[in-house]
């Protein structure tokens, strides 16, 4: 399928960022997008819509749960919250990501070849 969206760095990265962001505090979809954009200093240009399928996947896995609530702008929104399973999953993912990153950095480090 030729979806005209900017893919994130690697599969699972978006989910990881969502979980990390939700760990700080529960929030709804729009806020989540803004938060991720902000904290990456707008380096990561994710397509806003692509957040939702990722959220659905996390919901299905039981890593987050959702409740209807009221946003700061007084709208009925679905607020997502990290679950215990989600927290564990995030830890695992982050540590494996760090290992991978270390490996990549070592390879990319200059002068050692």
């Amino acid at each position: 399928m030729n979806k005209p969206i900017q893919r994130d760095l690697f599969p699972g990265a978006l989910e990881m960022m969502i979980l990390r962001t939700l760990k700080r505090q529960p929030m709804h979809g729009y806020a989540l997008v803004q938060q991720i954009k902000r904290s990456s200093n707008d380096v990561l240009q994710i397509e806003e819509g692509s957040l939702y399928p990722a959220l659905q996947r996390l919901l299905k896995e039981g890593f987050v749960k959702a409740e209807w609530g009221i946003s700061s702008t007084n709208r009925r929104v679905r607020i997502y919250k990290l679950t215990a399973a989600g927290g564990k999953h995030l830890e695992r993912e982050v540590s494996s990501f760090e290992r991978m990153l270390k490996g990549i950095t070592q390879v990319l480090a200059p002068g050692e070849l």
Partner: protein, 897 residues
């Protein structure tokens, strides 16, 4: 059951998603407006940054989808809706598929019931027929059954084999049952010990025969078939232990076999023990069918080797009487060729059924081609819709799946309708199927047939959906979106698929028509064969057997038969009558033996060719319409005077003495002690085994002869077929008078196998007629579908080329020119199809060579006629659309642009 809940909470999920996304967008717009953007611009920007809402919603749903079942449900709903929007398309496509599936399912149920299903015996795969051949025994080669077993062979095999759990021999026959209302001739099967044990079907009532019933001259016992038990005893369970008079002897009923039980392929009323006398059997007497049950794990090759090893044992253990050389049979080169019992039952009908199955399968392909064409047209008219859907983000797989789901759905609905039709089809097949088709009574639609039907439906759905799906999915979206609105002349490649289909259809139709044509030629050739009797419709045949328990003395038997002849001749409307041991094609087991001519020299230790033996009464030739080629017929005074006279068939006379007339006056005998018999007449060849088989060489003996061994009283032929020439043959009143005439001679004589020779003849060609009807139906279906296919494609082509034709006409082309263009295009397709079809037919009709008679598989006349017919029909099918093309009004055609 989580997925189930999900499936049903689907609506809520969708609503929530939409609401959530809407909230997201609203929030974004609000923020952008707050930043100073106009509301309109903000909305556009929000949507742009969000992405394709529909696609994202779909992606979200997909996360929850239970492996894309929901999409398929959606596609089915969509497909059903679009089908109901095109009822004509739906009905035509469904009917085509339904008829194709029905024909295939019906024929498959026959193939399945006859060829594929195991026989109705426990562990049927262990059962074998003790078939053997004897290439050294000339004359035996024609035997359908190879060399049957003799009682001494049975004893040797039963005593010494190492590969069978059990084995036995059996033979069919007839017997007279008296003492209950009218005397009745019944069908019997006589069995040695081991036959029932081998077949392994327990009795419905009472017990099997055991070794104690096989004592020669011991108490005589009998078992009943289920049908006979119902018919004669009303299913009375107290019959066990009662007596029944068989051939004037009381026999005790010990058991009843269950419903549907047959001895291999033989239906029967009564079965009795053979009770061979071990002390009296000789080497010869090869008249018994052998069956056996292999030990678990034993192979047919091992069993063959086992019996081969026993043949010398057999020759050493028995003899043909003092002074005879038992090793004379070494020359026959007897070779065990054991085959699975199923193969024995099915015989050569497998080939016929596979040919029919193949042709019906071709019809299905043609039907699929037609539906493919319809779908192609449909998909083409839906180009715009598909292009729009693609532009809106529907993936290629999604569209391909949509088309395939729709076509498979068509296939399945057509299949369901077809399965219903197949029930009727099977009844039709059983009704027209040759009554000698093995296992005819077992034919039914079972789970396997239904499974086949389902798979066939799905596969054909995939088949006719695949081409349109591959052709139009995704490819060239933009251009189709651009062009779909305009009726420009379509490119050549768009027509290629359709043209290929037409060519394929014509080719397949040609193959089918060719095979049907060859069968027609075969049937016509059969009709011209002189079977050896004339005007069979007015020839009444019936069989009478006089057991020695009823009339012991031989001459009295012949005089009784003679008296019956006289009574029969006196019936009003009877022109002539005679009797013979069996009429051609009746299928009764025949007598075969060697014959020695006085003027020929025979080497020691060789056995001359075996000849068919018959016994005929004076007057038979006249009554049956069989020609006397030379000499004279026997007379009653020859018969009663026990004069040593004999007659021979024309082919035997030619083989032995060159011409029929040269045979007259020559002398022959069966074995050395027999007096020489003078050949007084030569009789035309008769097609003993059916019109398709060569006429065997026959020796015709008188019905009453000196004892064959030269001592003891004369011998009469006790079981004979009477034939009566009368215009009233076959009518109820006539048969009543015939029975009365027989009873007036002896009230204990039952009349059996009452039929006209026409029926005998028809039965003999039944297999050919059945093939003819089946291939005829297949050919007609193929031709009809082919016409529809060509017509459809040409009509569509013309409608697509309307503008081009309009321009041509506007530029001055005449109607005739346009007609020619269209006709040429259609004819070209038909011609290509015919050429390919001929090539295919040359290869394929060879497969049916064994079903043909009097015509080769490459009969030029049939090929030319069928090819001409197809081209003619194709041109006609093009003509109507071509005519329509000439009527195109240039102004109307061009106004659309």
């Amino acid at each position: 059951m989580n997925w189930l809940r999900q499936l049903f909470s689907r609506g809520r999920l969708n609503r929530e998603l939409s609401e959530e996304i809407q909230a997201h967008l609203d929030e974004k717009v609000e923020e952008l407006v707050a930043e100073g953007m106009s509301r309109e611009e903000a909305m556009r920007s929000a949507r742009r940054e969000f992405g394709n809402v529909g696609l994202i919603e779909e992606d979200c749903r997909e996360v929850w989808a239970w492996p894309s079942v929901e999409d398929v449900f959606f596609d089915i709903r969509y497909g059903l809706r679009s089908l109901t929007h095109n009822p004509v398309f739906a009905v035509v496509a469904l009917l085509t598929i339904a008829i194709g599936v029905a024909a295939n399912a019906a024929v498959f149920s026959v193939v399945n019931s006859v060829l594929l299903k195991p026989l109705n015996y426990p562990k049927a795969e262990e059962l074998v027929a003790l078939h053997q051949v004897a290439p050294g025994a000339e004359g035996l080669a024609d035997f359908e059954n190879g060399l049957l077993l003799s009682p001494s062979m049975y004893f040797t095999y039963a005593d010494h084999n190492q590969t069978f759990q059990s084995l036995g021999v059996w033979i069919t026959g007839t017997a007279n049952v008296t003492g209950m209302a009218e005397p009745e001739q019944v069908r019997t099967v006589s069995v040695s010990d081991g036959v029932l044990q081998t077949l392994g079907v327990p009795p419905a009532l009472g017990r099997w025969f055991s070794q104690v019933d096989q004592v020669p001259n011991g108490p005589v016992r009998v078992m009943l078939s289920y049908g006979y038990w119902q018919r004669r005893f009303g299913g009375d369970r107290t019959v066990i232990g009662r007596n029944i008079t068989v051939d004037s002897q009381p026999r005790e009923i010990v058991g009843v076999m269950p419903q549907g039980f047959r001895f291999v392929d033989a239906d029967f009323d009564l079965t009795a023990p053979l009770a061979f006398n071990r002390g009296k059997v000789i080497l010869a007497g090869f008249g018994f069918h052998g069956i056996a049950r292999l030990k678990p794990g034993a192979t047919i090759a091992e069993a063959n080797a086992d019996l081969t090893r026993l043949l010398p044992v057999w020759m050493d253990s028995w003899s043909n009487g003092p002074g005879s050389n038992p090793h004379i049979y070494e020359e026959w080169r007897i070779t065990p060729m054991i085959r699975p019992l199923k193969q024995q039952v099915i015989g050569n009908v497998g080939e016929l059924l596979w040919v029919v199955m193949g042709t019906i399968g071709l019809v299905m392909l043609i039907a699929c081609a037609n539906v493919t064409n319809l779908l192609l047209v449909r998909v083409e008219t839906r180009q715009q819709e598909l292009a729009v859907r693609t532009a809106l983000g529907a993936g290629r797989t999604r569209i391909v799946r949509g088309i395939l789901v729709e076509s498979v759905m068509l296939g399945i609905i057509g299949g369901v309708v077809g399965a219903g039709l197949a029930y009727a089809g099977v009844r039709f097949l059983v009704a027209i199927g040759p009554s000698n088709l093995p296992r005819l009574n077992e034919i039914a639609i079972d789970a396997r047939t239904l499974g086949f039907t389902f798979i066939l439906s799905v596969l054909s759905g995939l088949l006719f959906g695949l081409i349109p799906a591959l052709k139009y999915a995704g490819a060239g979206n933009i251009s189709s979106l651009q062009s779909a609105g305009r009726t420009i002349s379509v490119g050549r490649e768009r027509h290629r698929a359709r043209n290929l289909l037409v060519v394929g259809q014509v080719a397949m139709a040609l193959v089918l028509l060719m095979s049907a044509g060859l069968m027609i030629r075969t049937f016509a050739a059969l009709r011209t064969v002189d079977p050896g009797f004339a005007d069979p419709q007015h020839l009444q045949a019936l069989r009478i057997s006089i057991p020695d328990s009823l009339i012991a003395e031989s001459e009295r038997v012949t005089r009784t038969q003679n008296a019956i002849l006289e009574k029969l001749s006196a019936i009003q409307g009877v022109k002539s009558a005679g009797f013979v041991s069996e009429m051609p094609m009746e299928g009764f087991d025949s007598d075969w033996d060697e014959i020695f001519a006085e003027d020929k020299v025979y080497a020691d230790n060789t056995i001359p060719p075996l000849r068919l033996y018959k016994h005929i009464s004076p007057g038979l030739l006249h009554a049956a319409g069989t020609r006397l080629v030379a000499g004279r017929e026997m007379t009653w005074s020859d018969v009663y005077g026990l004069r040593p006279v004999v007659m021979v068939s024309e082919n035997l006379a030619r083989e032995m003495w060159g011409t029929p007339s040269a045979a007259i006056g020559k002398r022959m005998r069966e074995f050395p002690k027999m007096p020489w018999h003078e050949v007084v007449g030569v009789i035309q060849d008769v097609r003993e085994k059916g019109v398709q088989d060569t006429a065997p060489e026959i020796v015709y003996w008188p019905p009453l002869m000196e004892n064959a061994f030269g001592l003891g009283p004369a011998q009469a032929t006790r079981t004979v077929t009477f034939v009566i020439r009368s215009d009233r043959a076959g009518t109820e009143s006539f048969l009543t008078e015939v029975r009365a005439a027989v009873q007036s001679v002896n009230s204990d004589l039952p009349v059996a196998s009452v039929r006209t020779m026409q029926e005998v003849y028809d039965k003999s060609v039944a297999q050919t007629s059945f093939t003819l009807v089946m291939l005829g139906i297949a050919g007609t279906m193929a031709l009809t579908l082919g016409i529809i296919g060509i017509y459809g494609v040409m009509s569509y082509t013309v409608s697509q080329r309307k503008r081009e034709i309009g321009i041509r006409l506007a530029l001055g082309a005449q109607g005739g020119d346009v007609l020619k263009i269209v006709l040429r295009q259609g004819t070209k397709l038909a011609l290509v199809g015919v050429v390919i079809g001929i090539a295919a037919a040359l290869a394929l009709t060879r497969l049916m060579a064994n079903l043909l008679f009097g015509v080769t598989a490459h009969d030029p006349l049939t090929f030319v006629a069928v090819a001409a017919l197809l081209i003619l029909v194709a041109v006609l099918a093009c003509y109507i659309p071509a005519r329509r093309a000439t009527l195109v009004d240039p102004i109307v055609a061009l106004r659309y642009e």
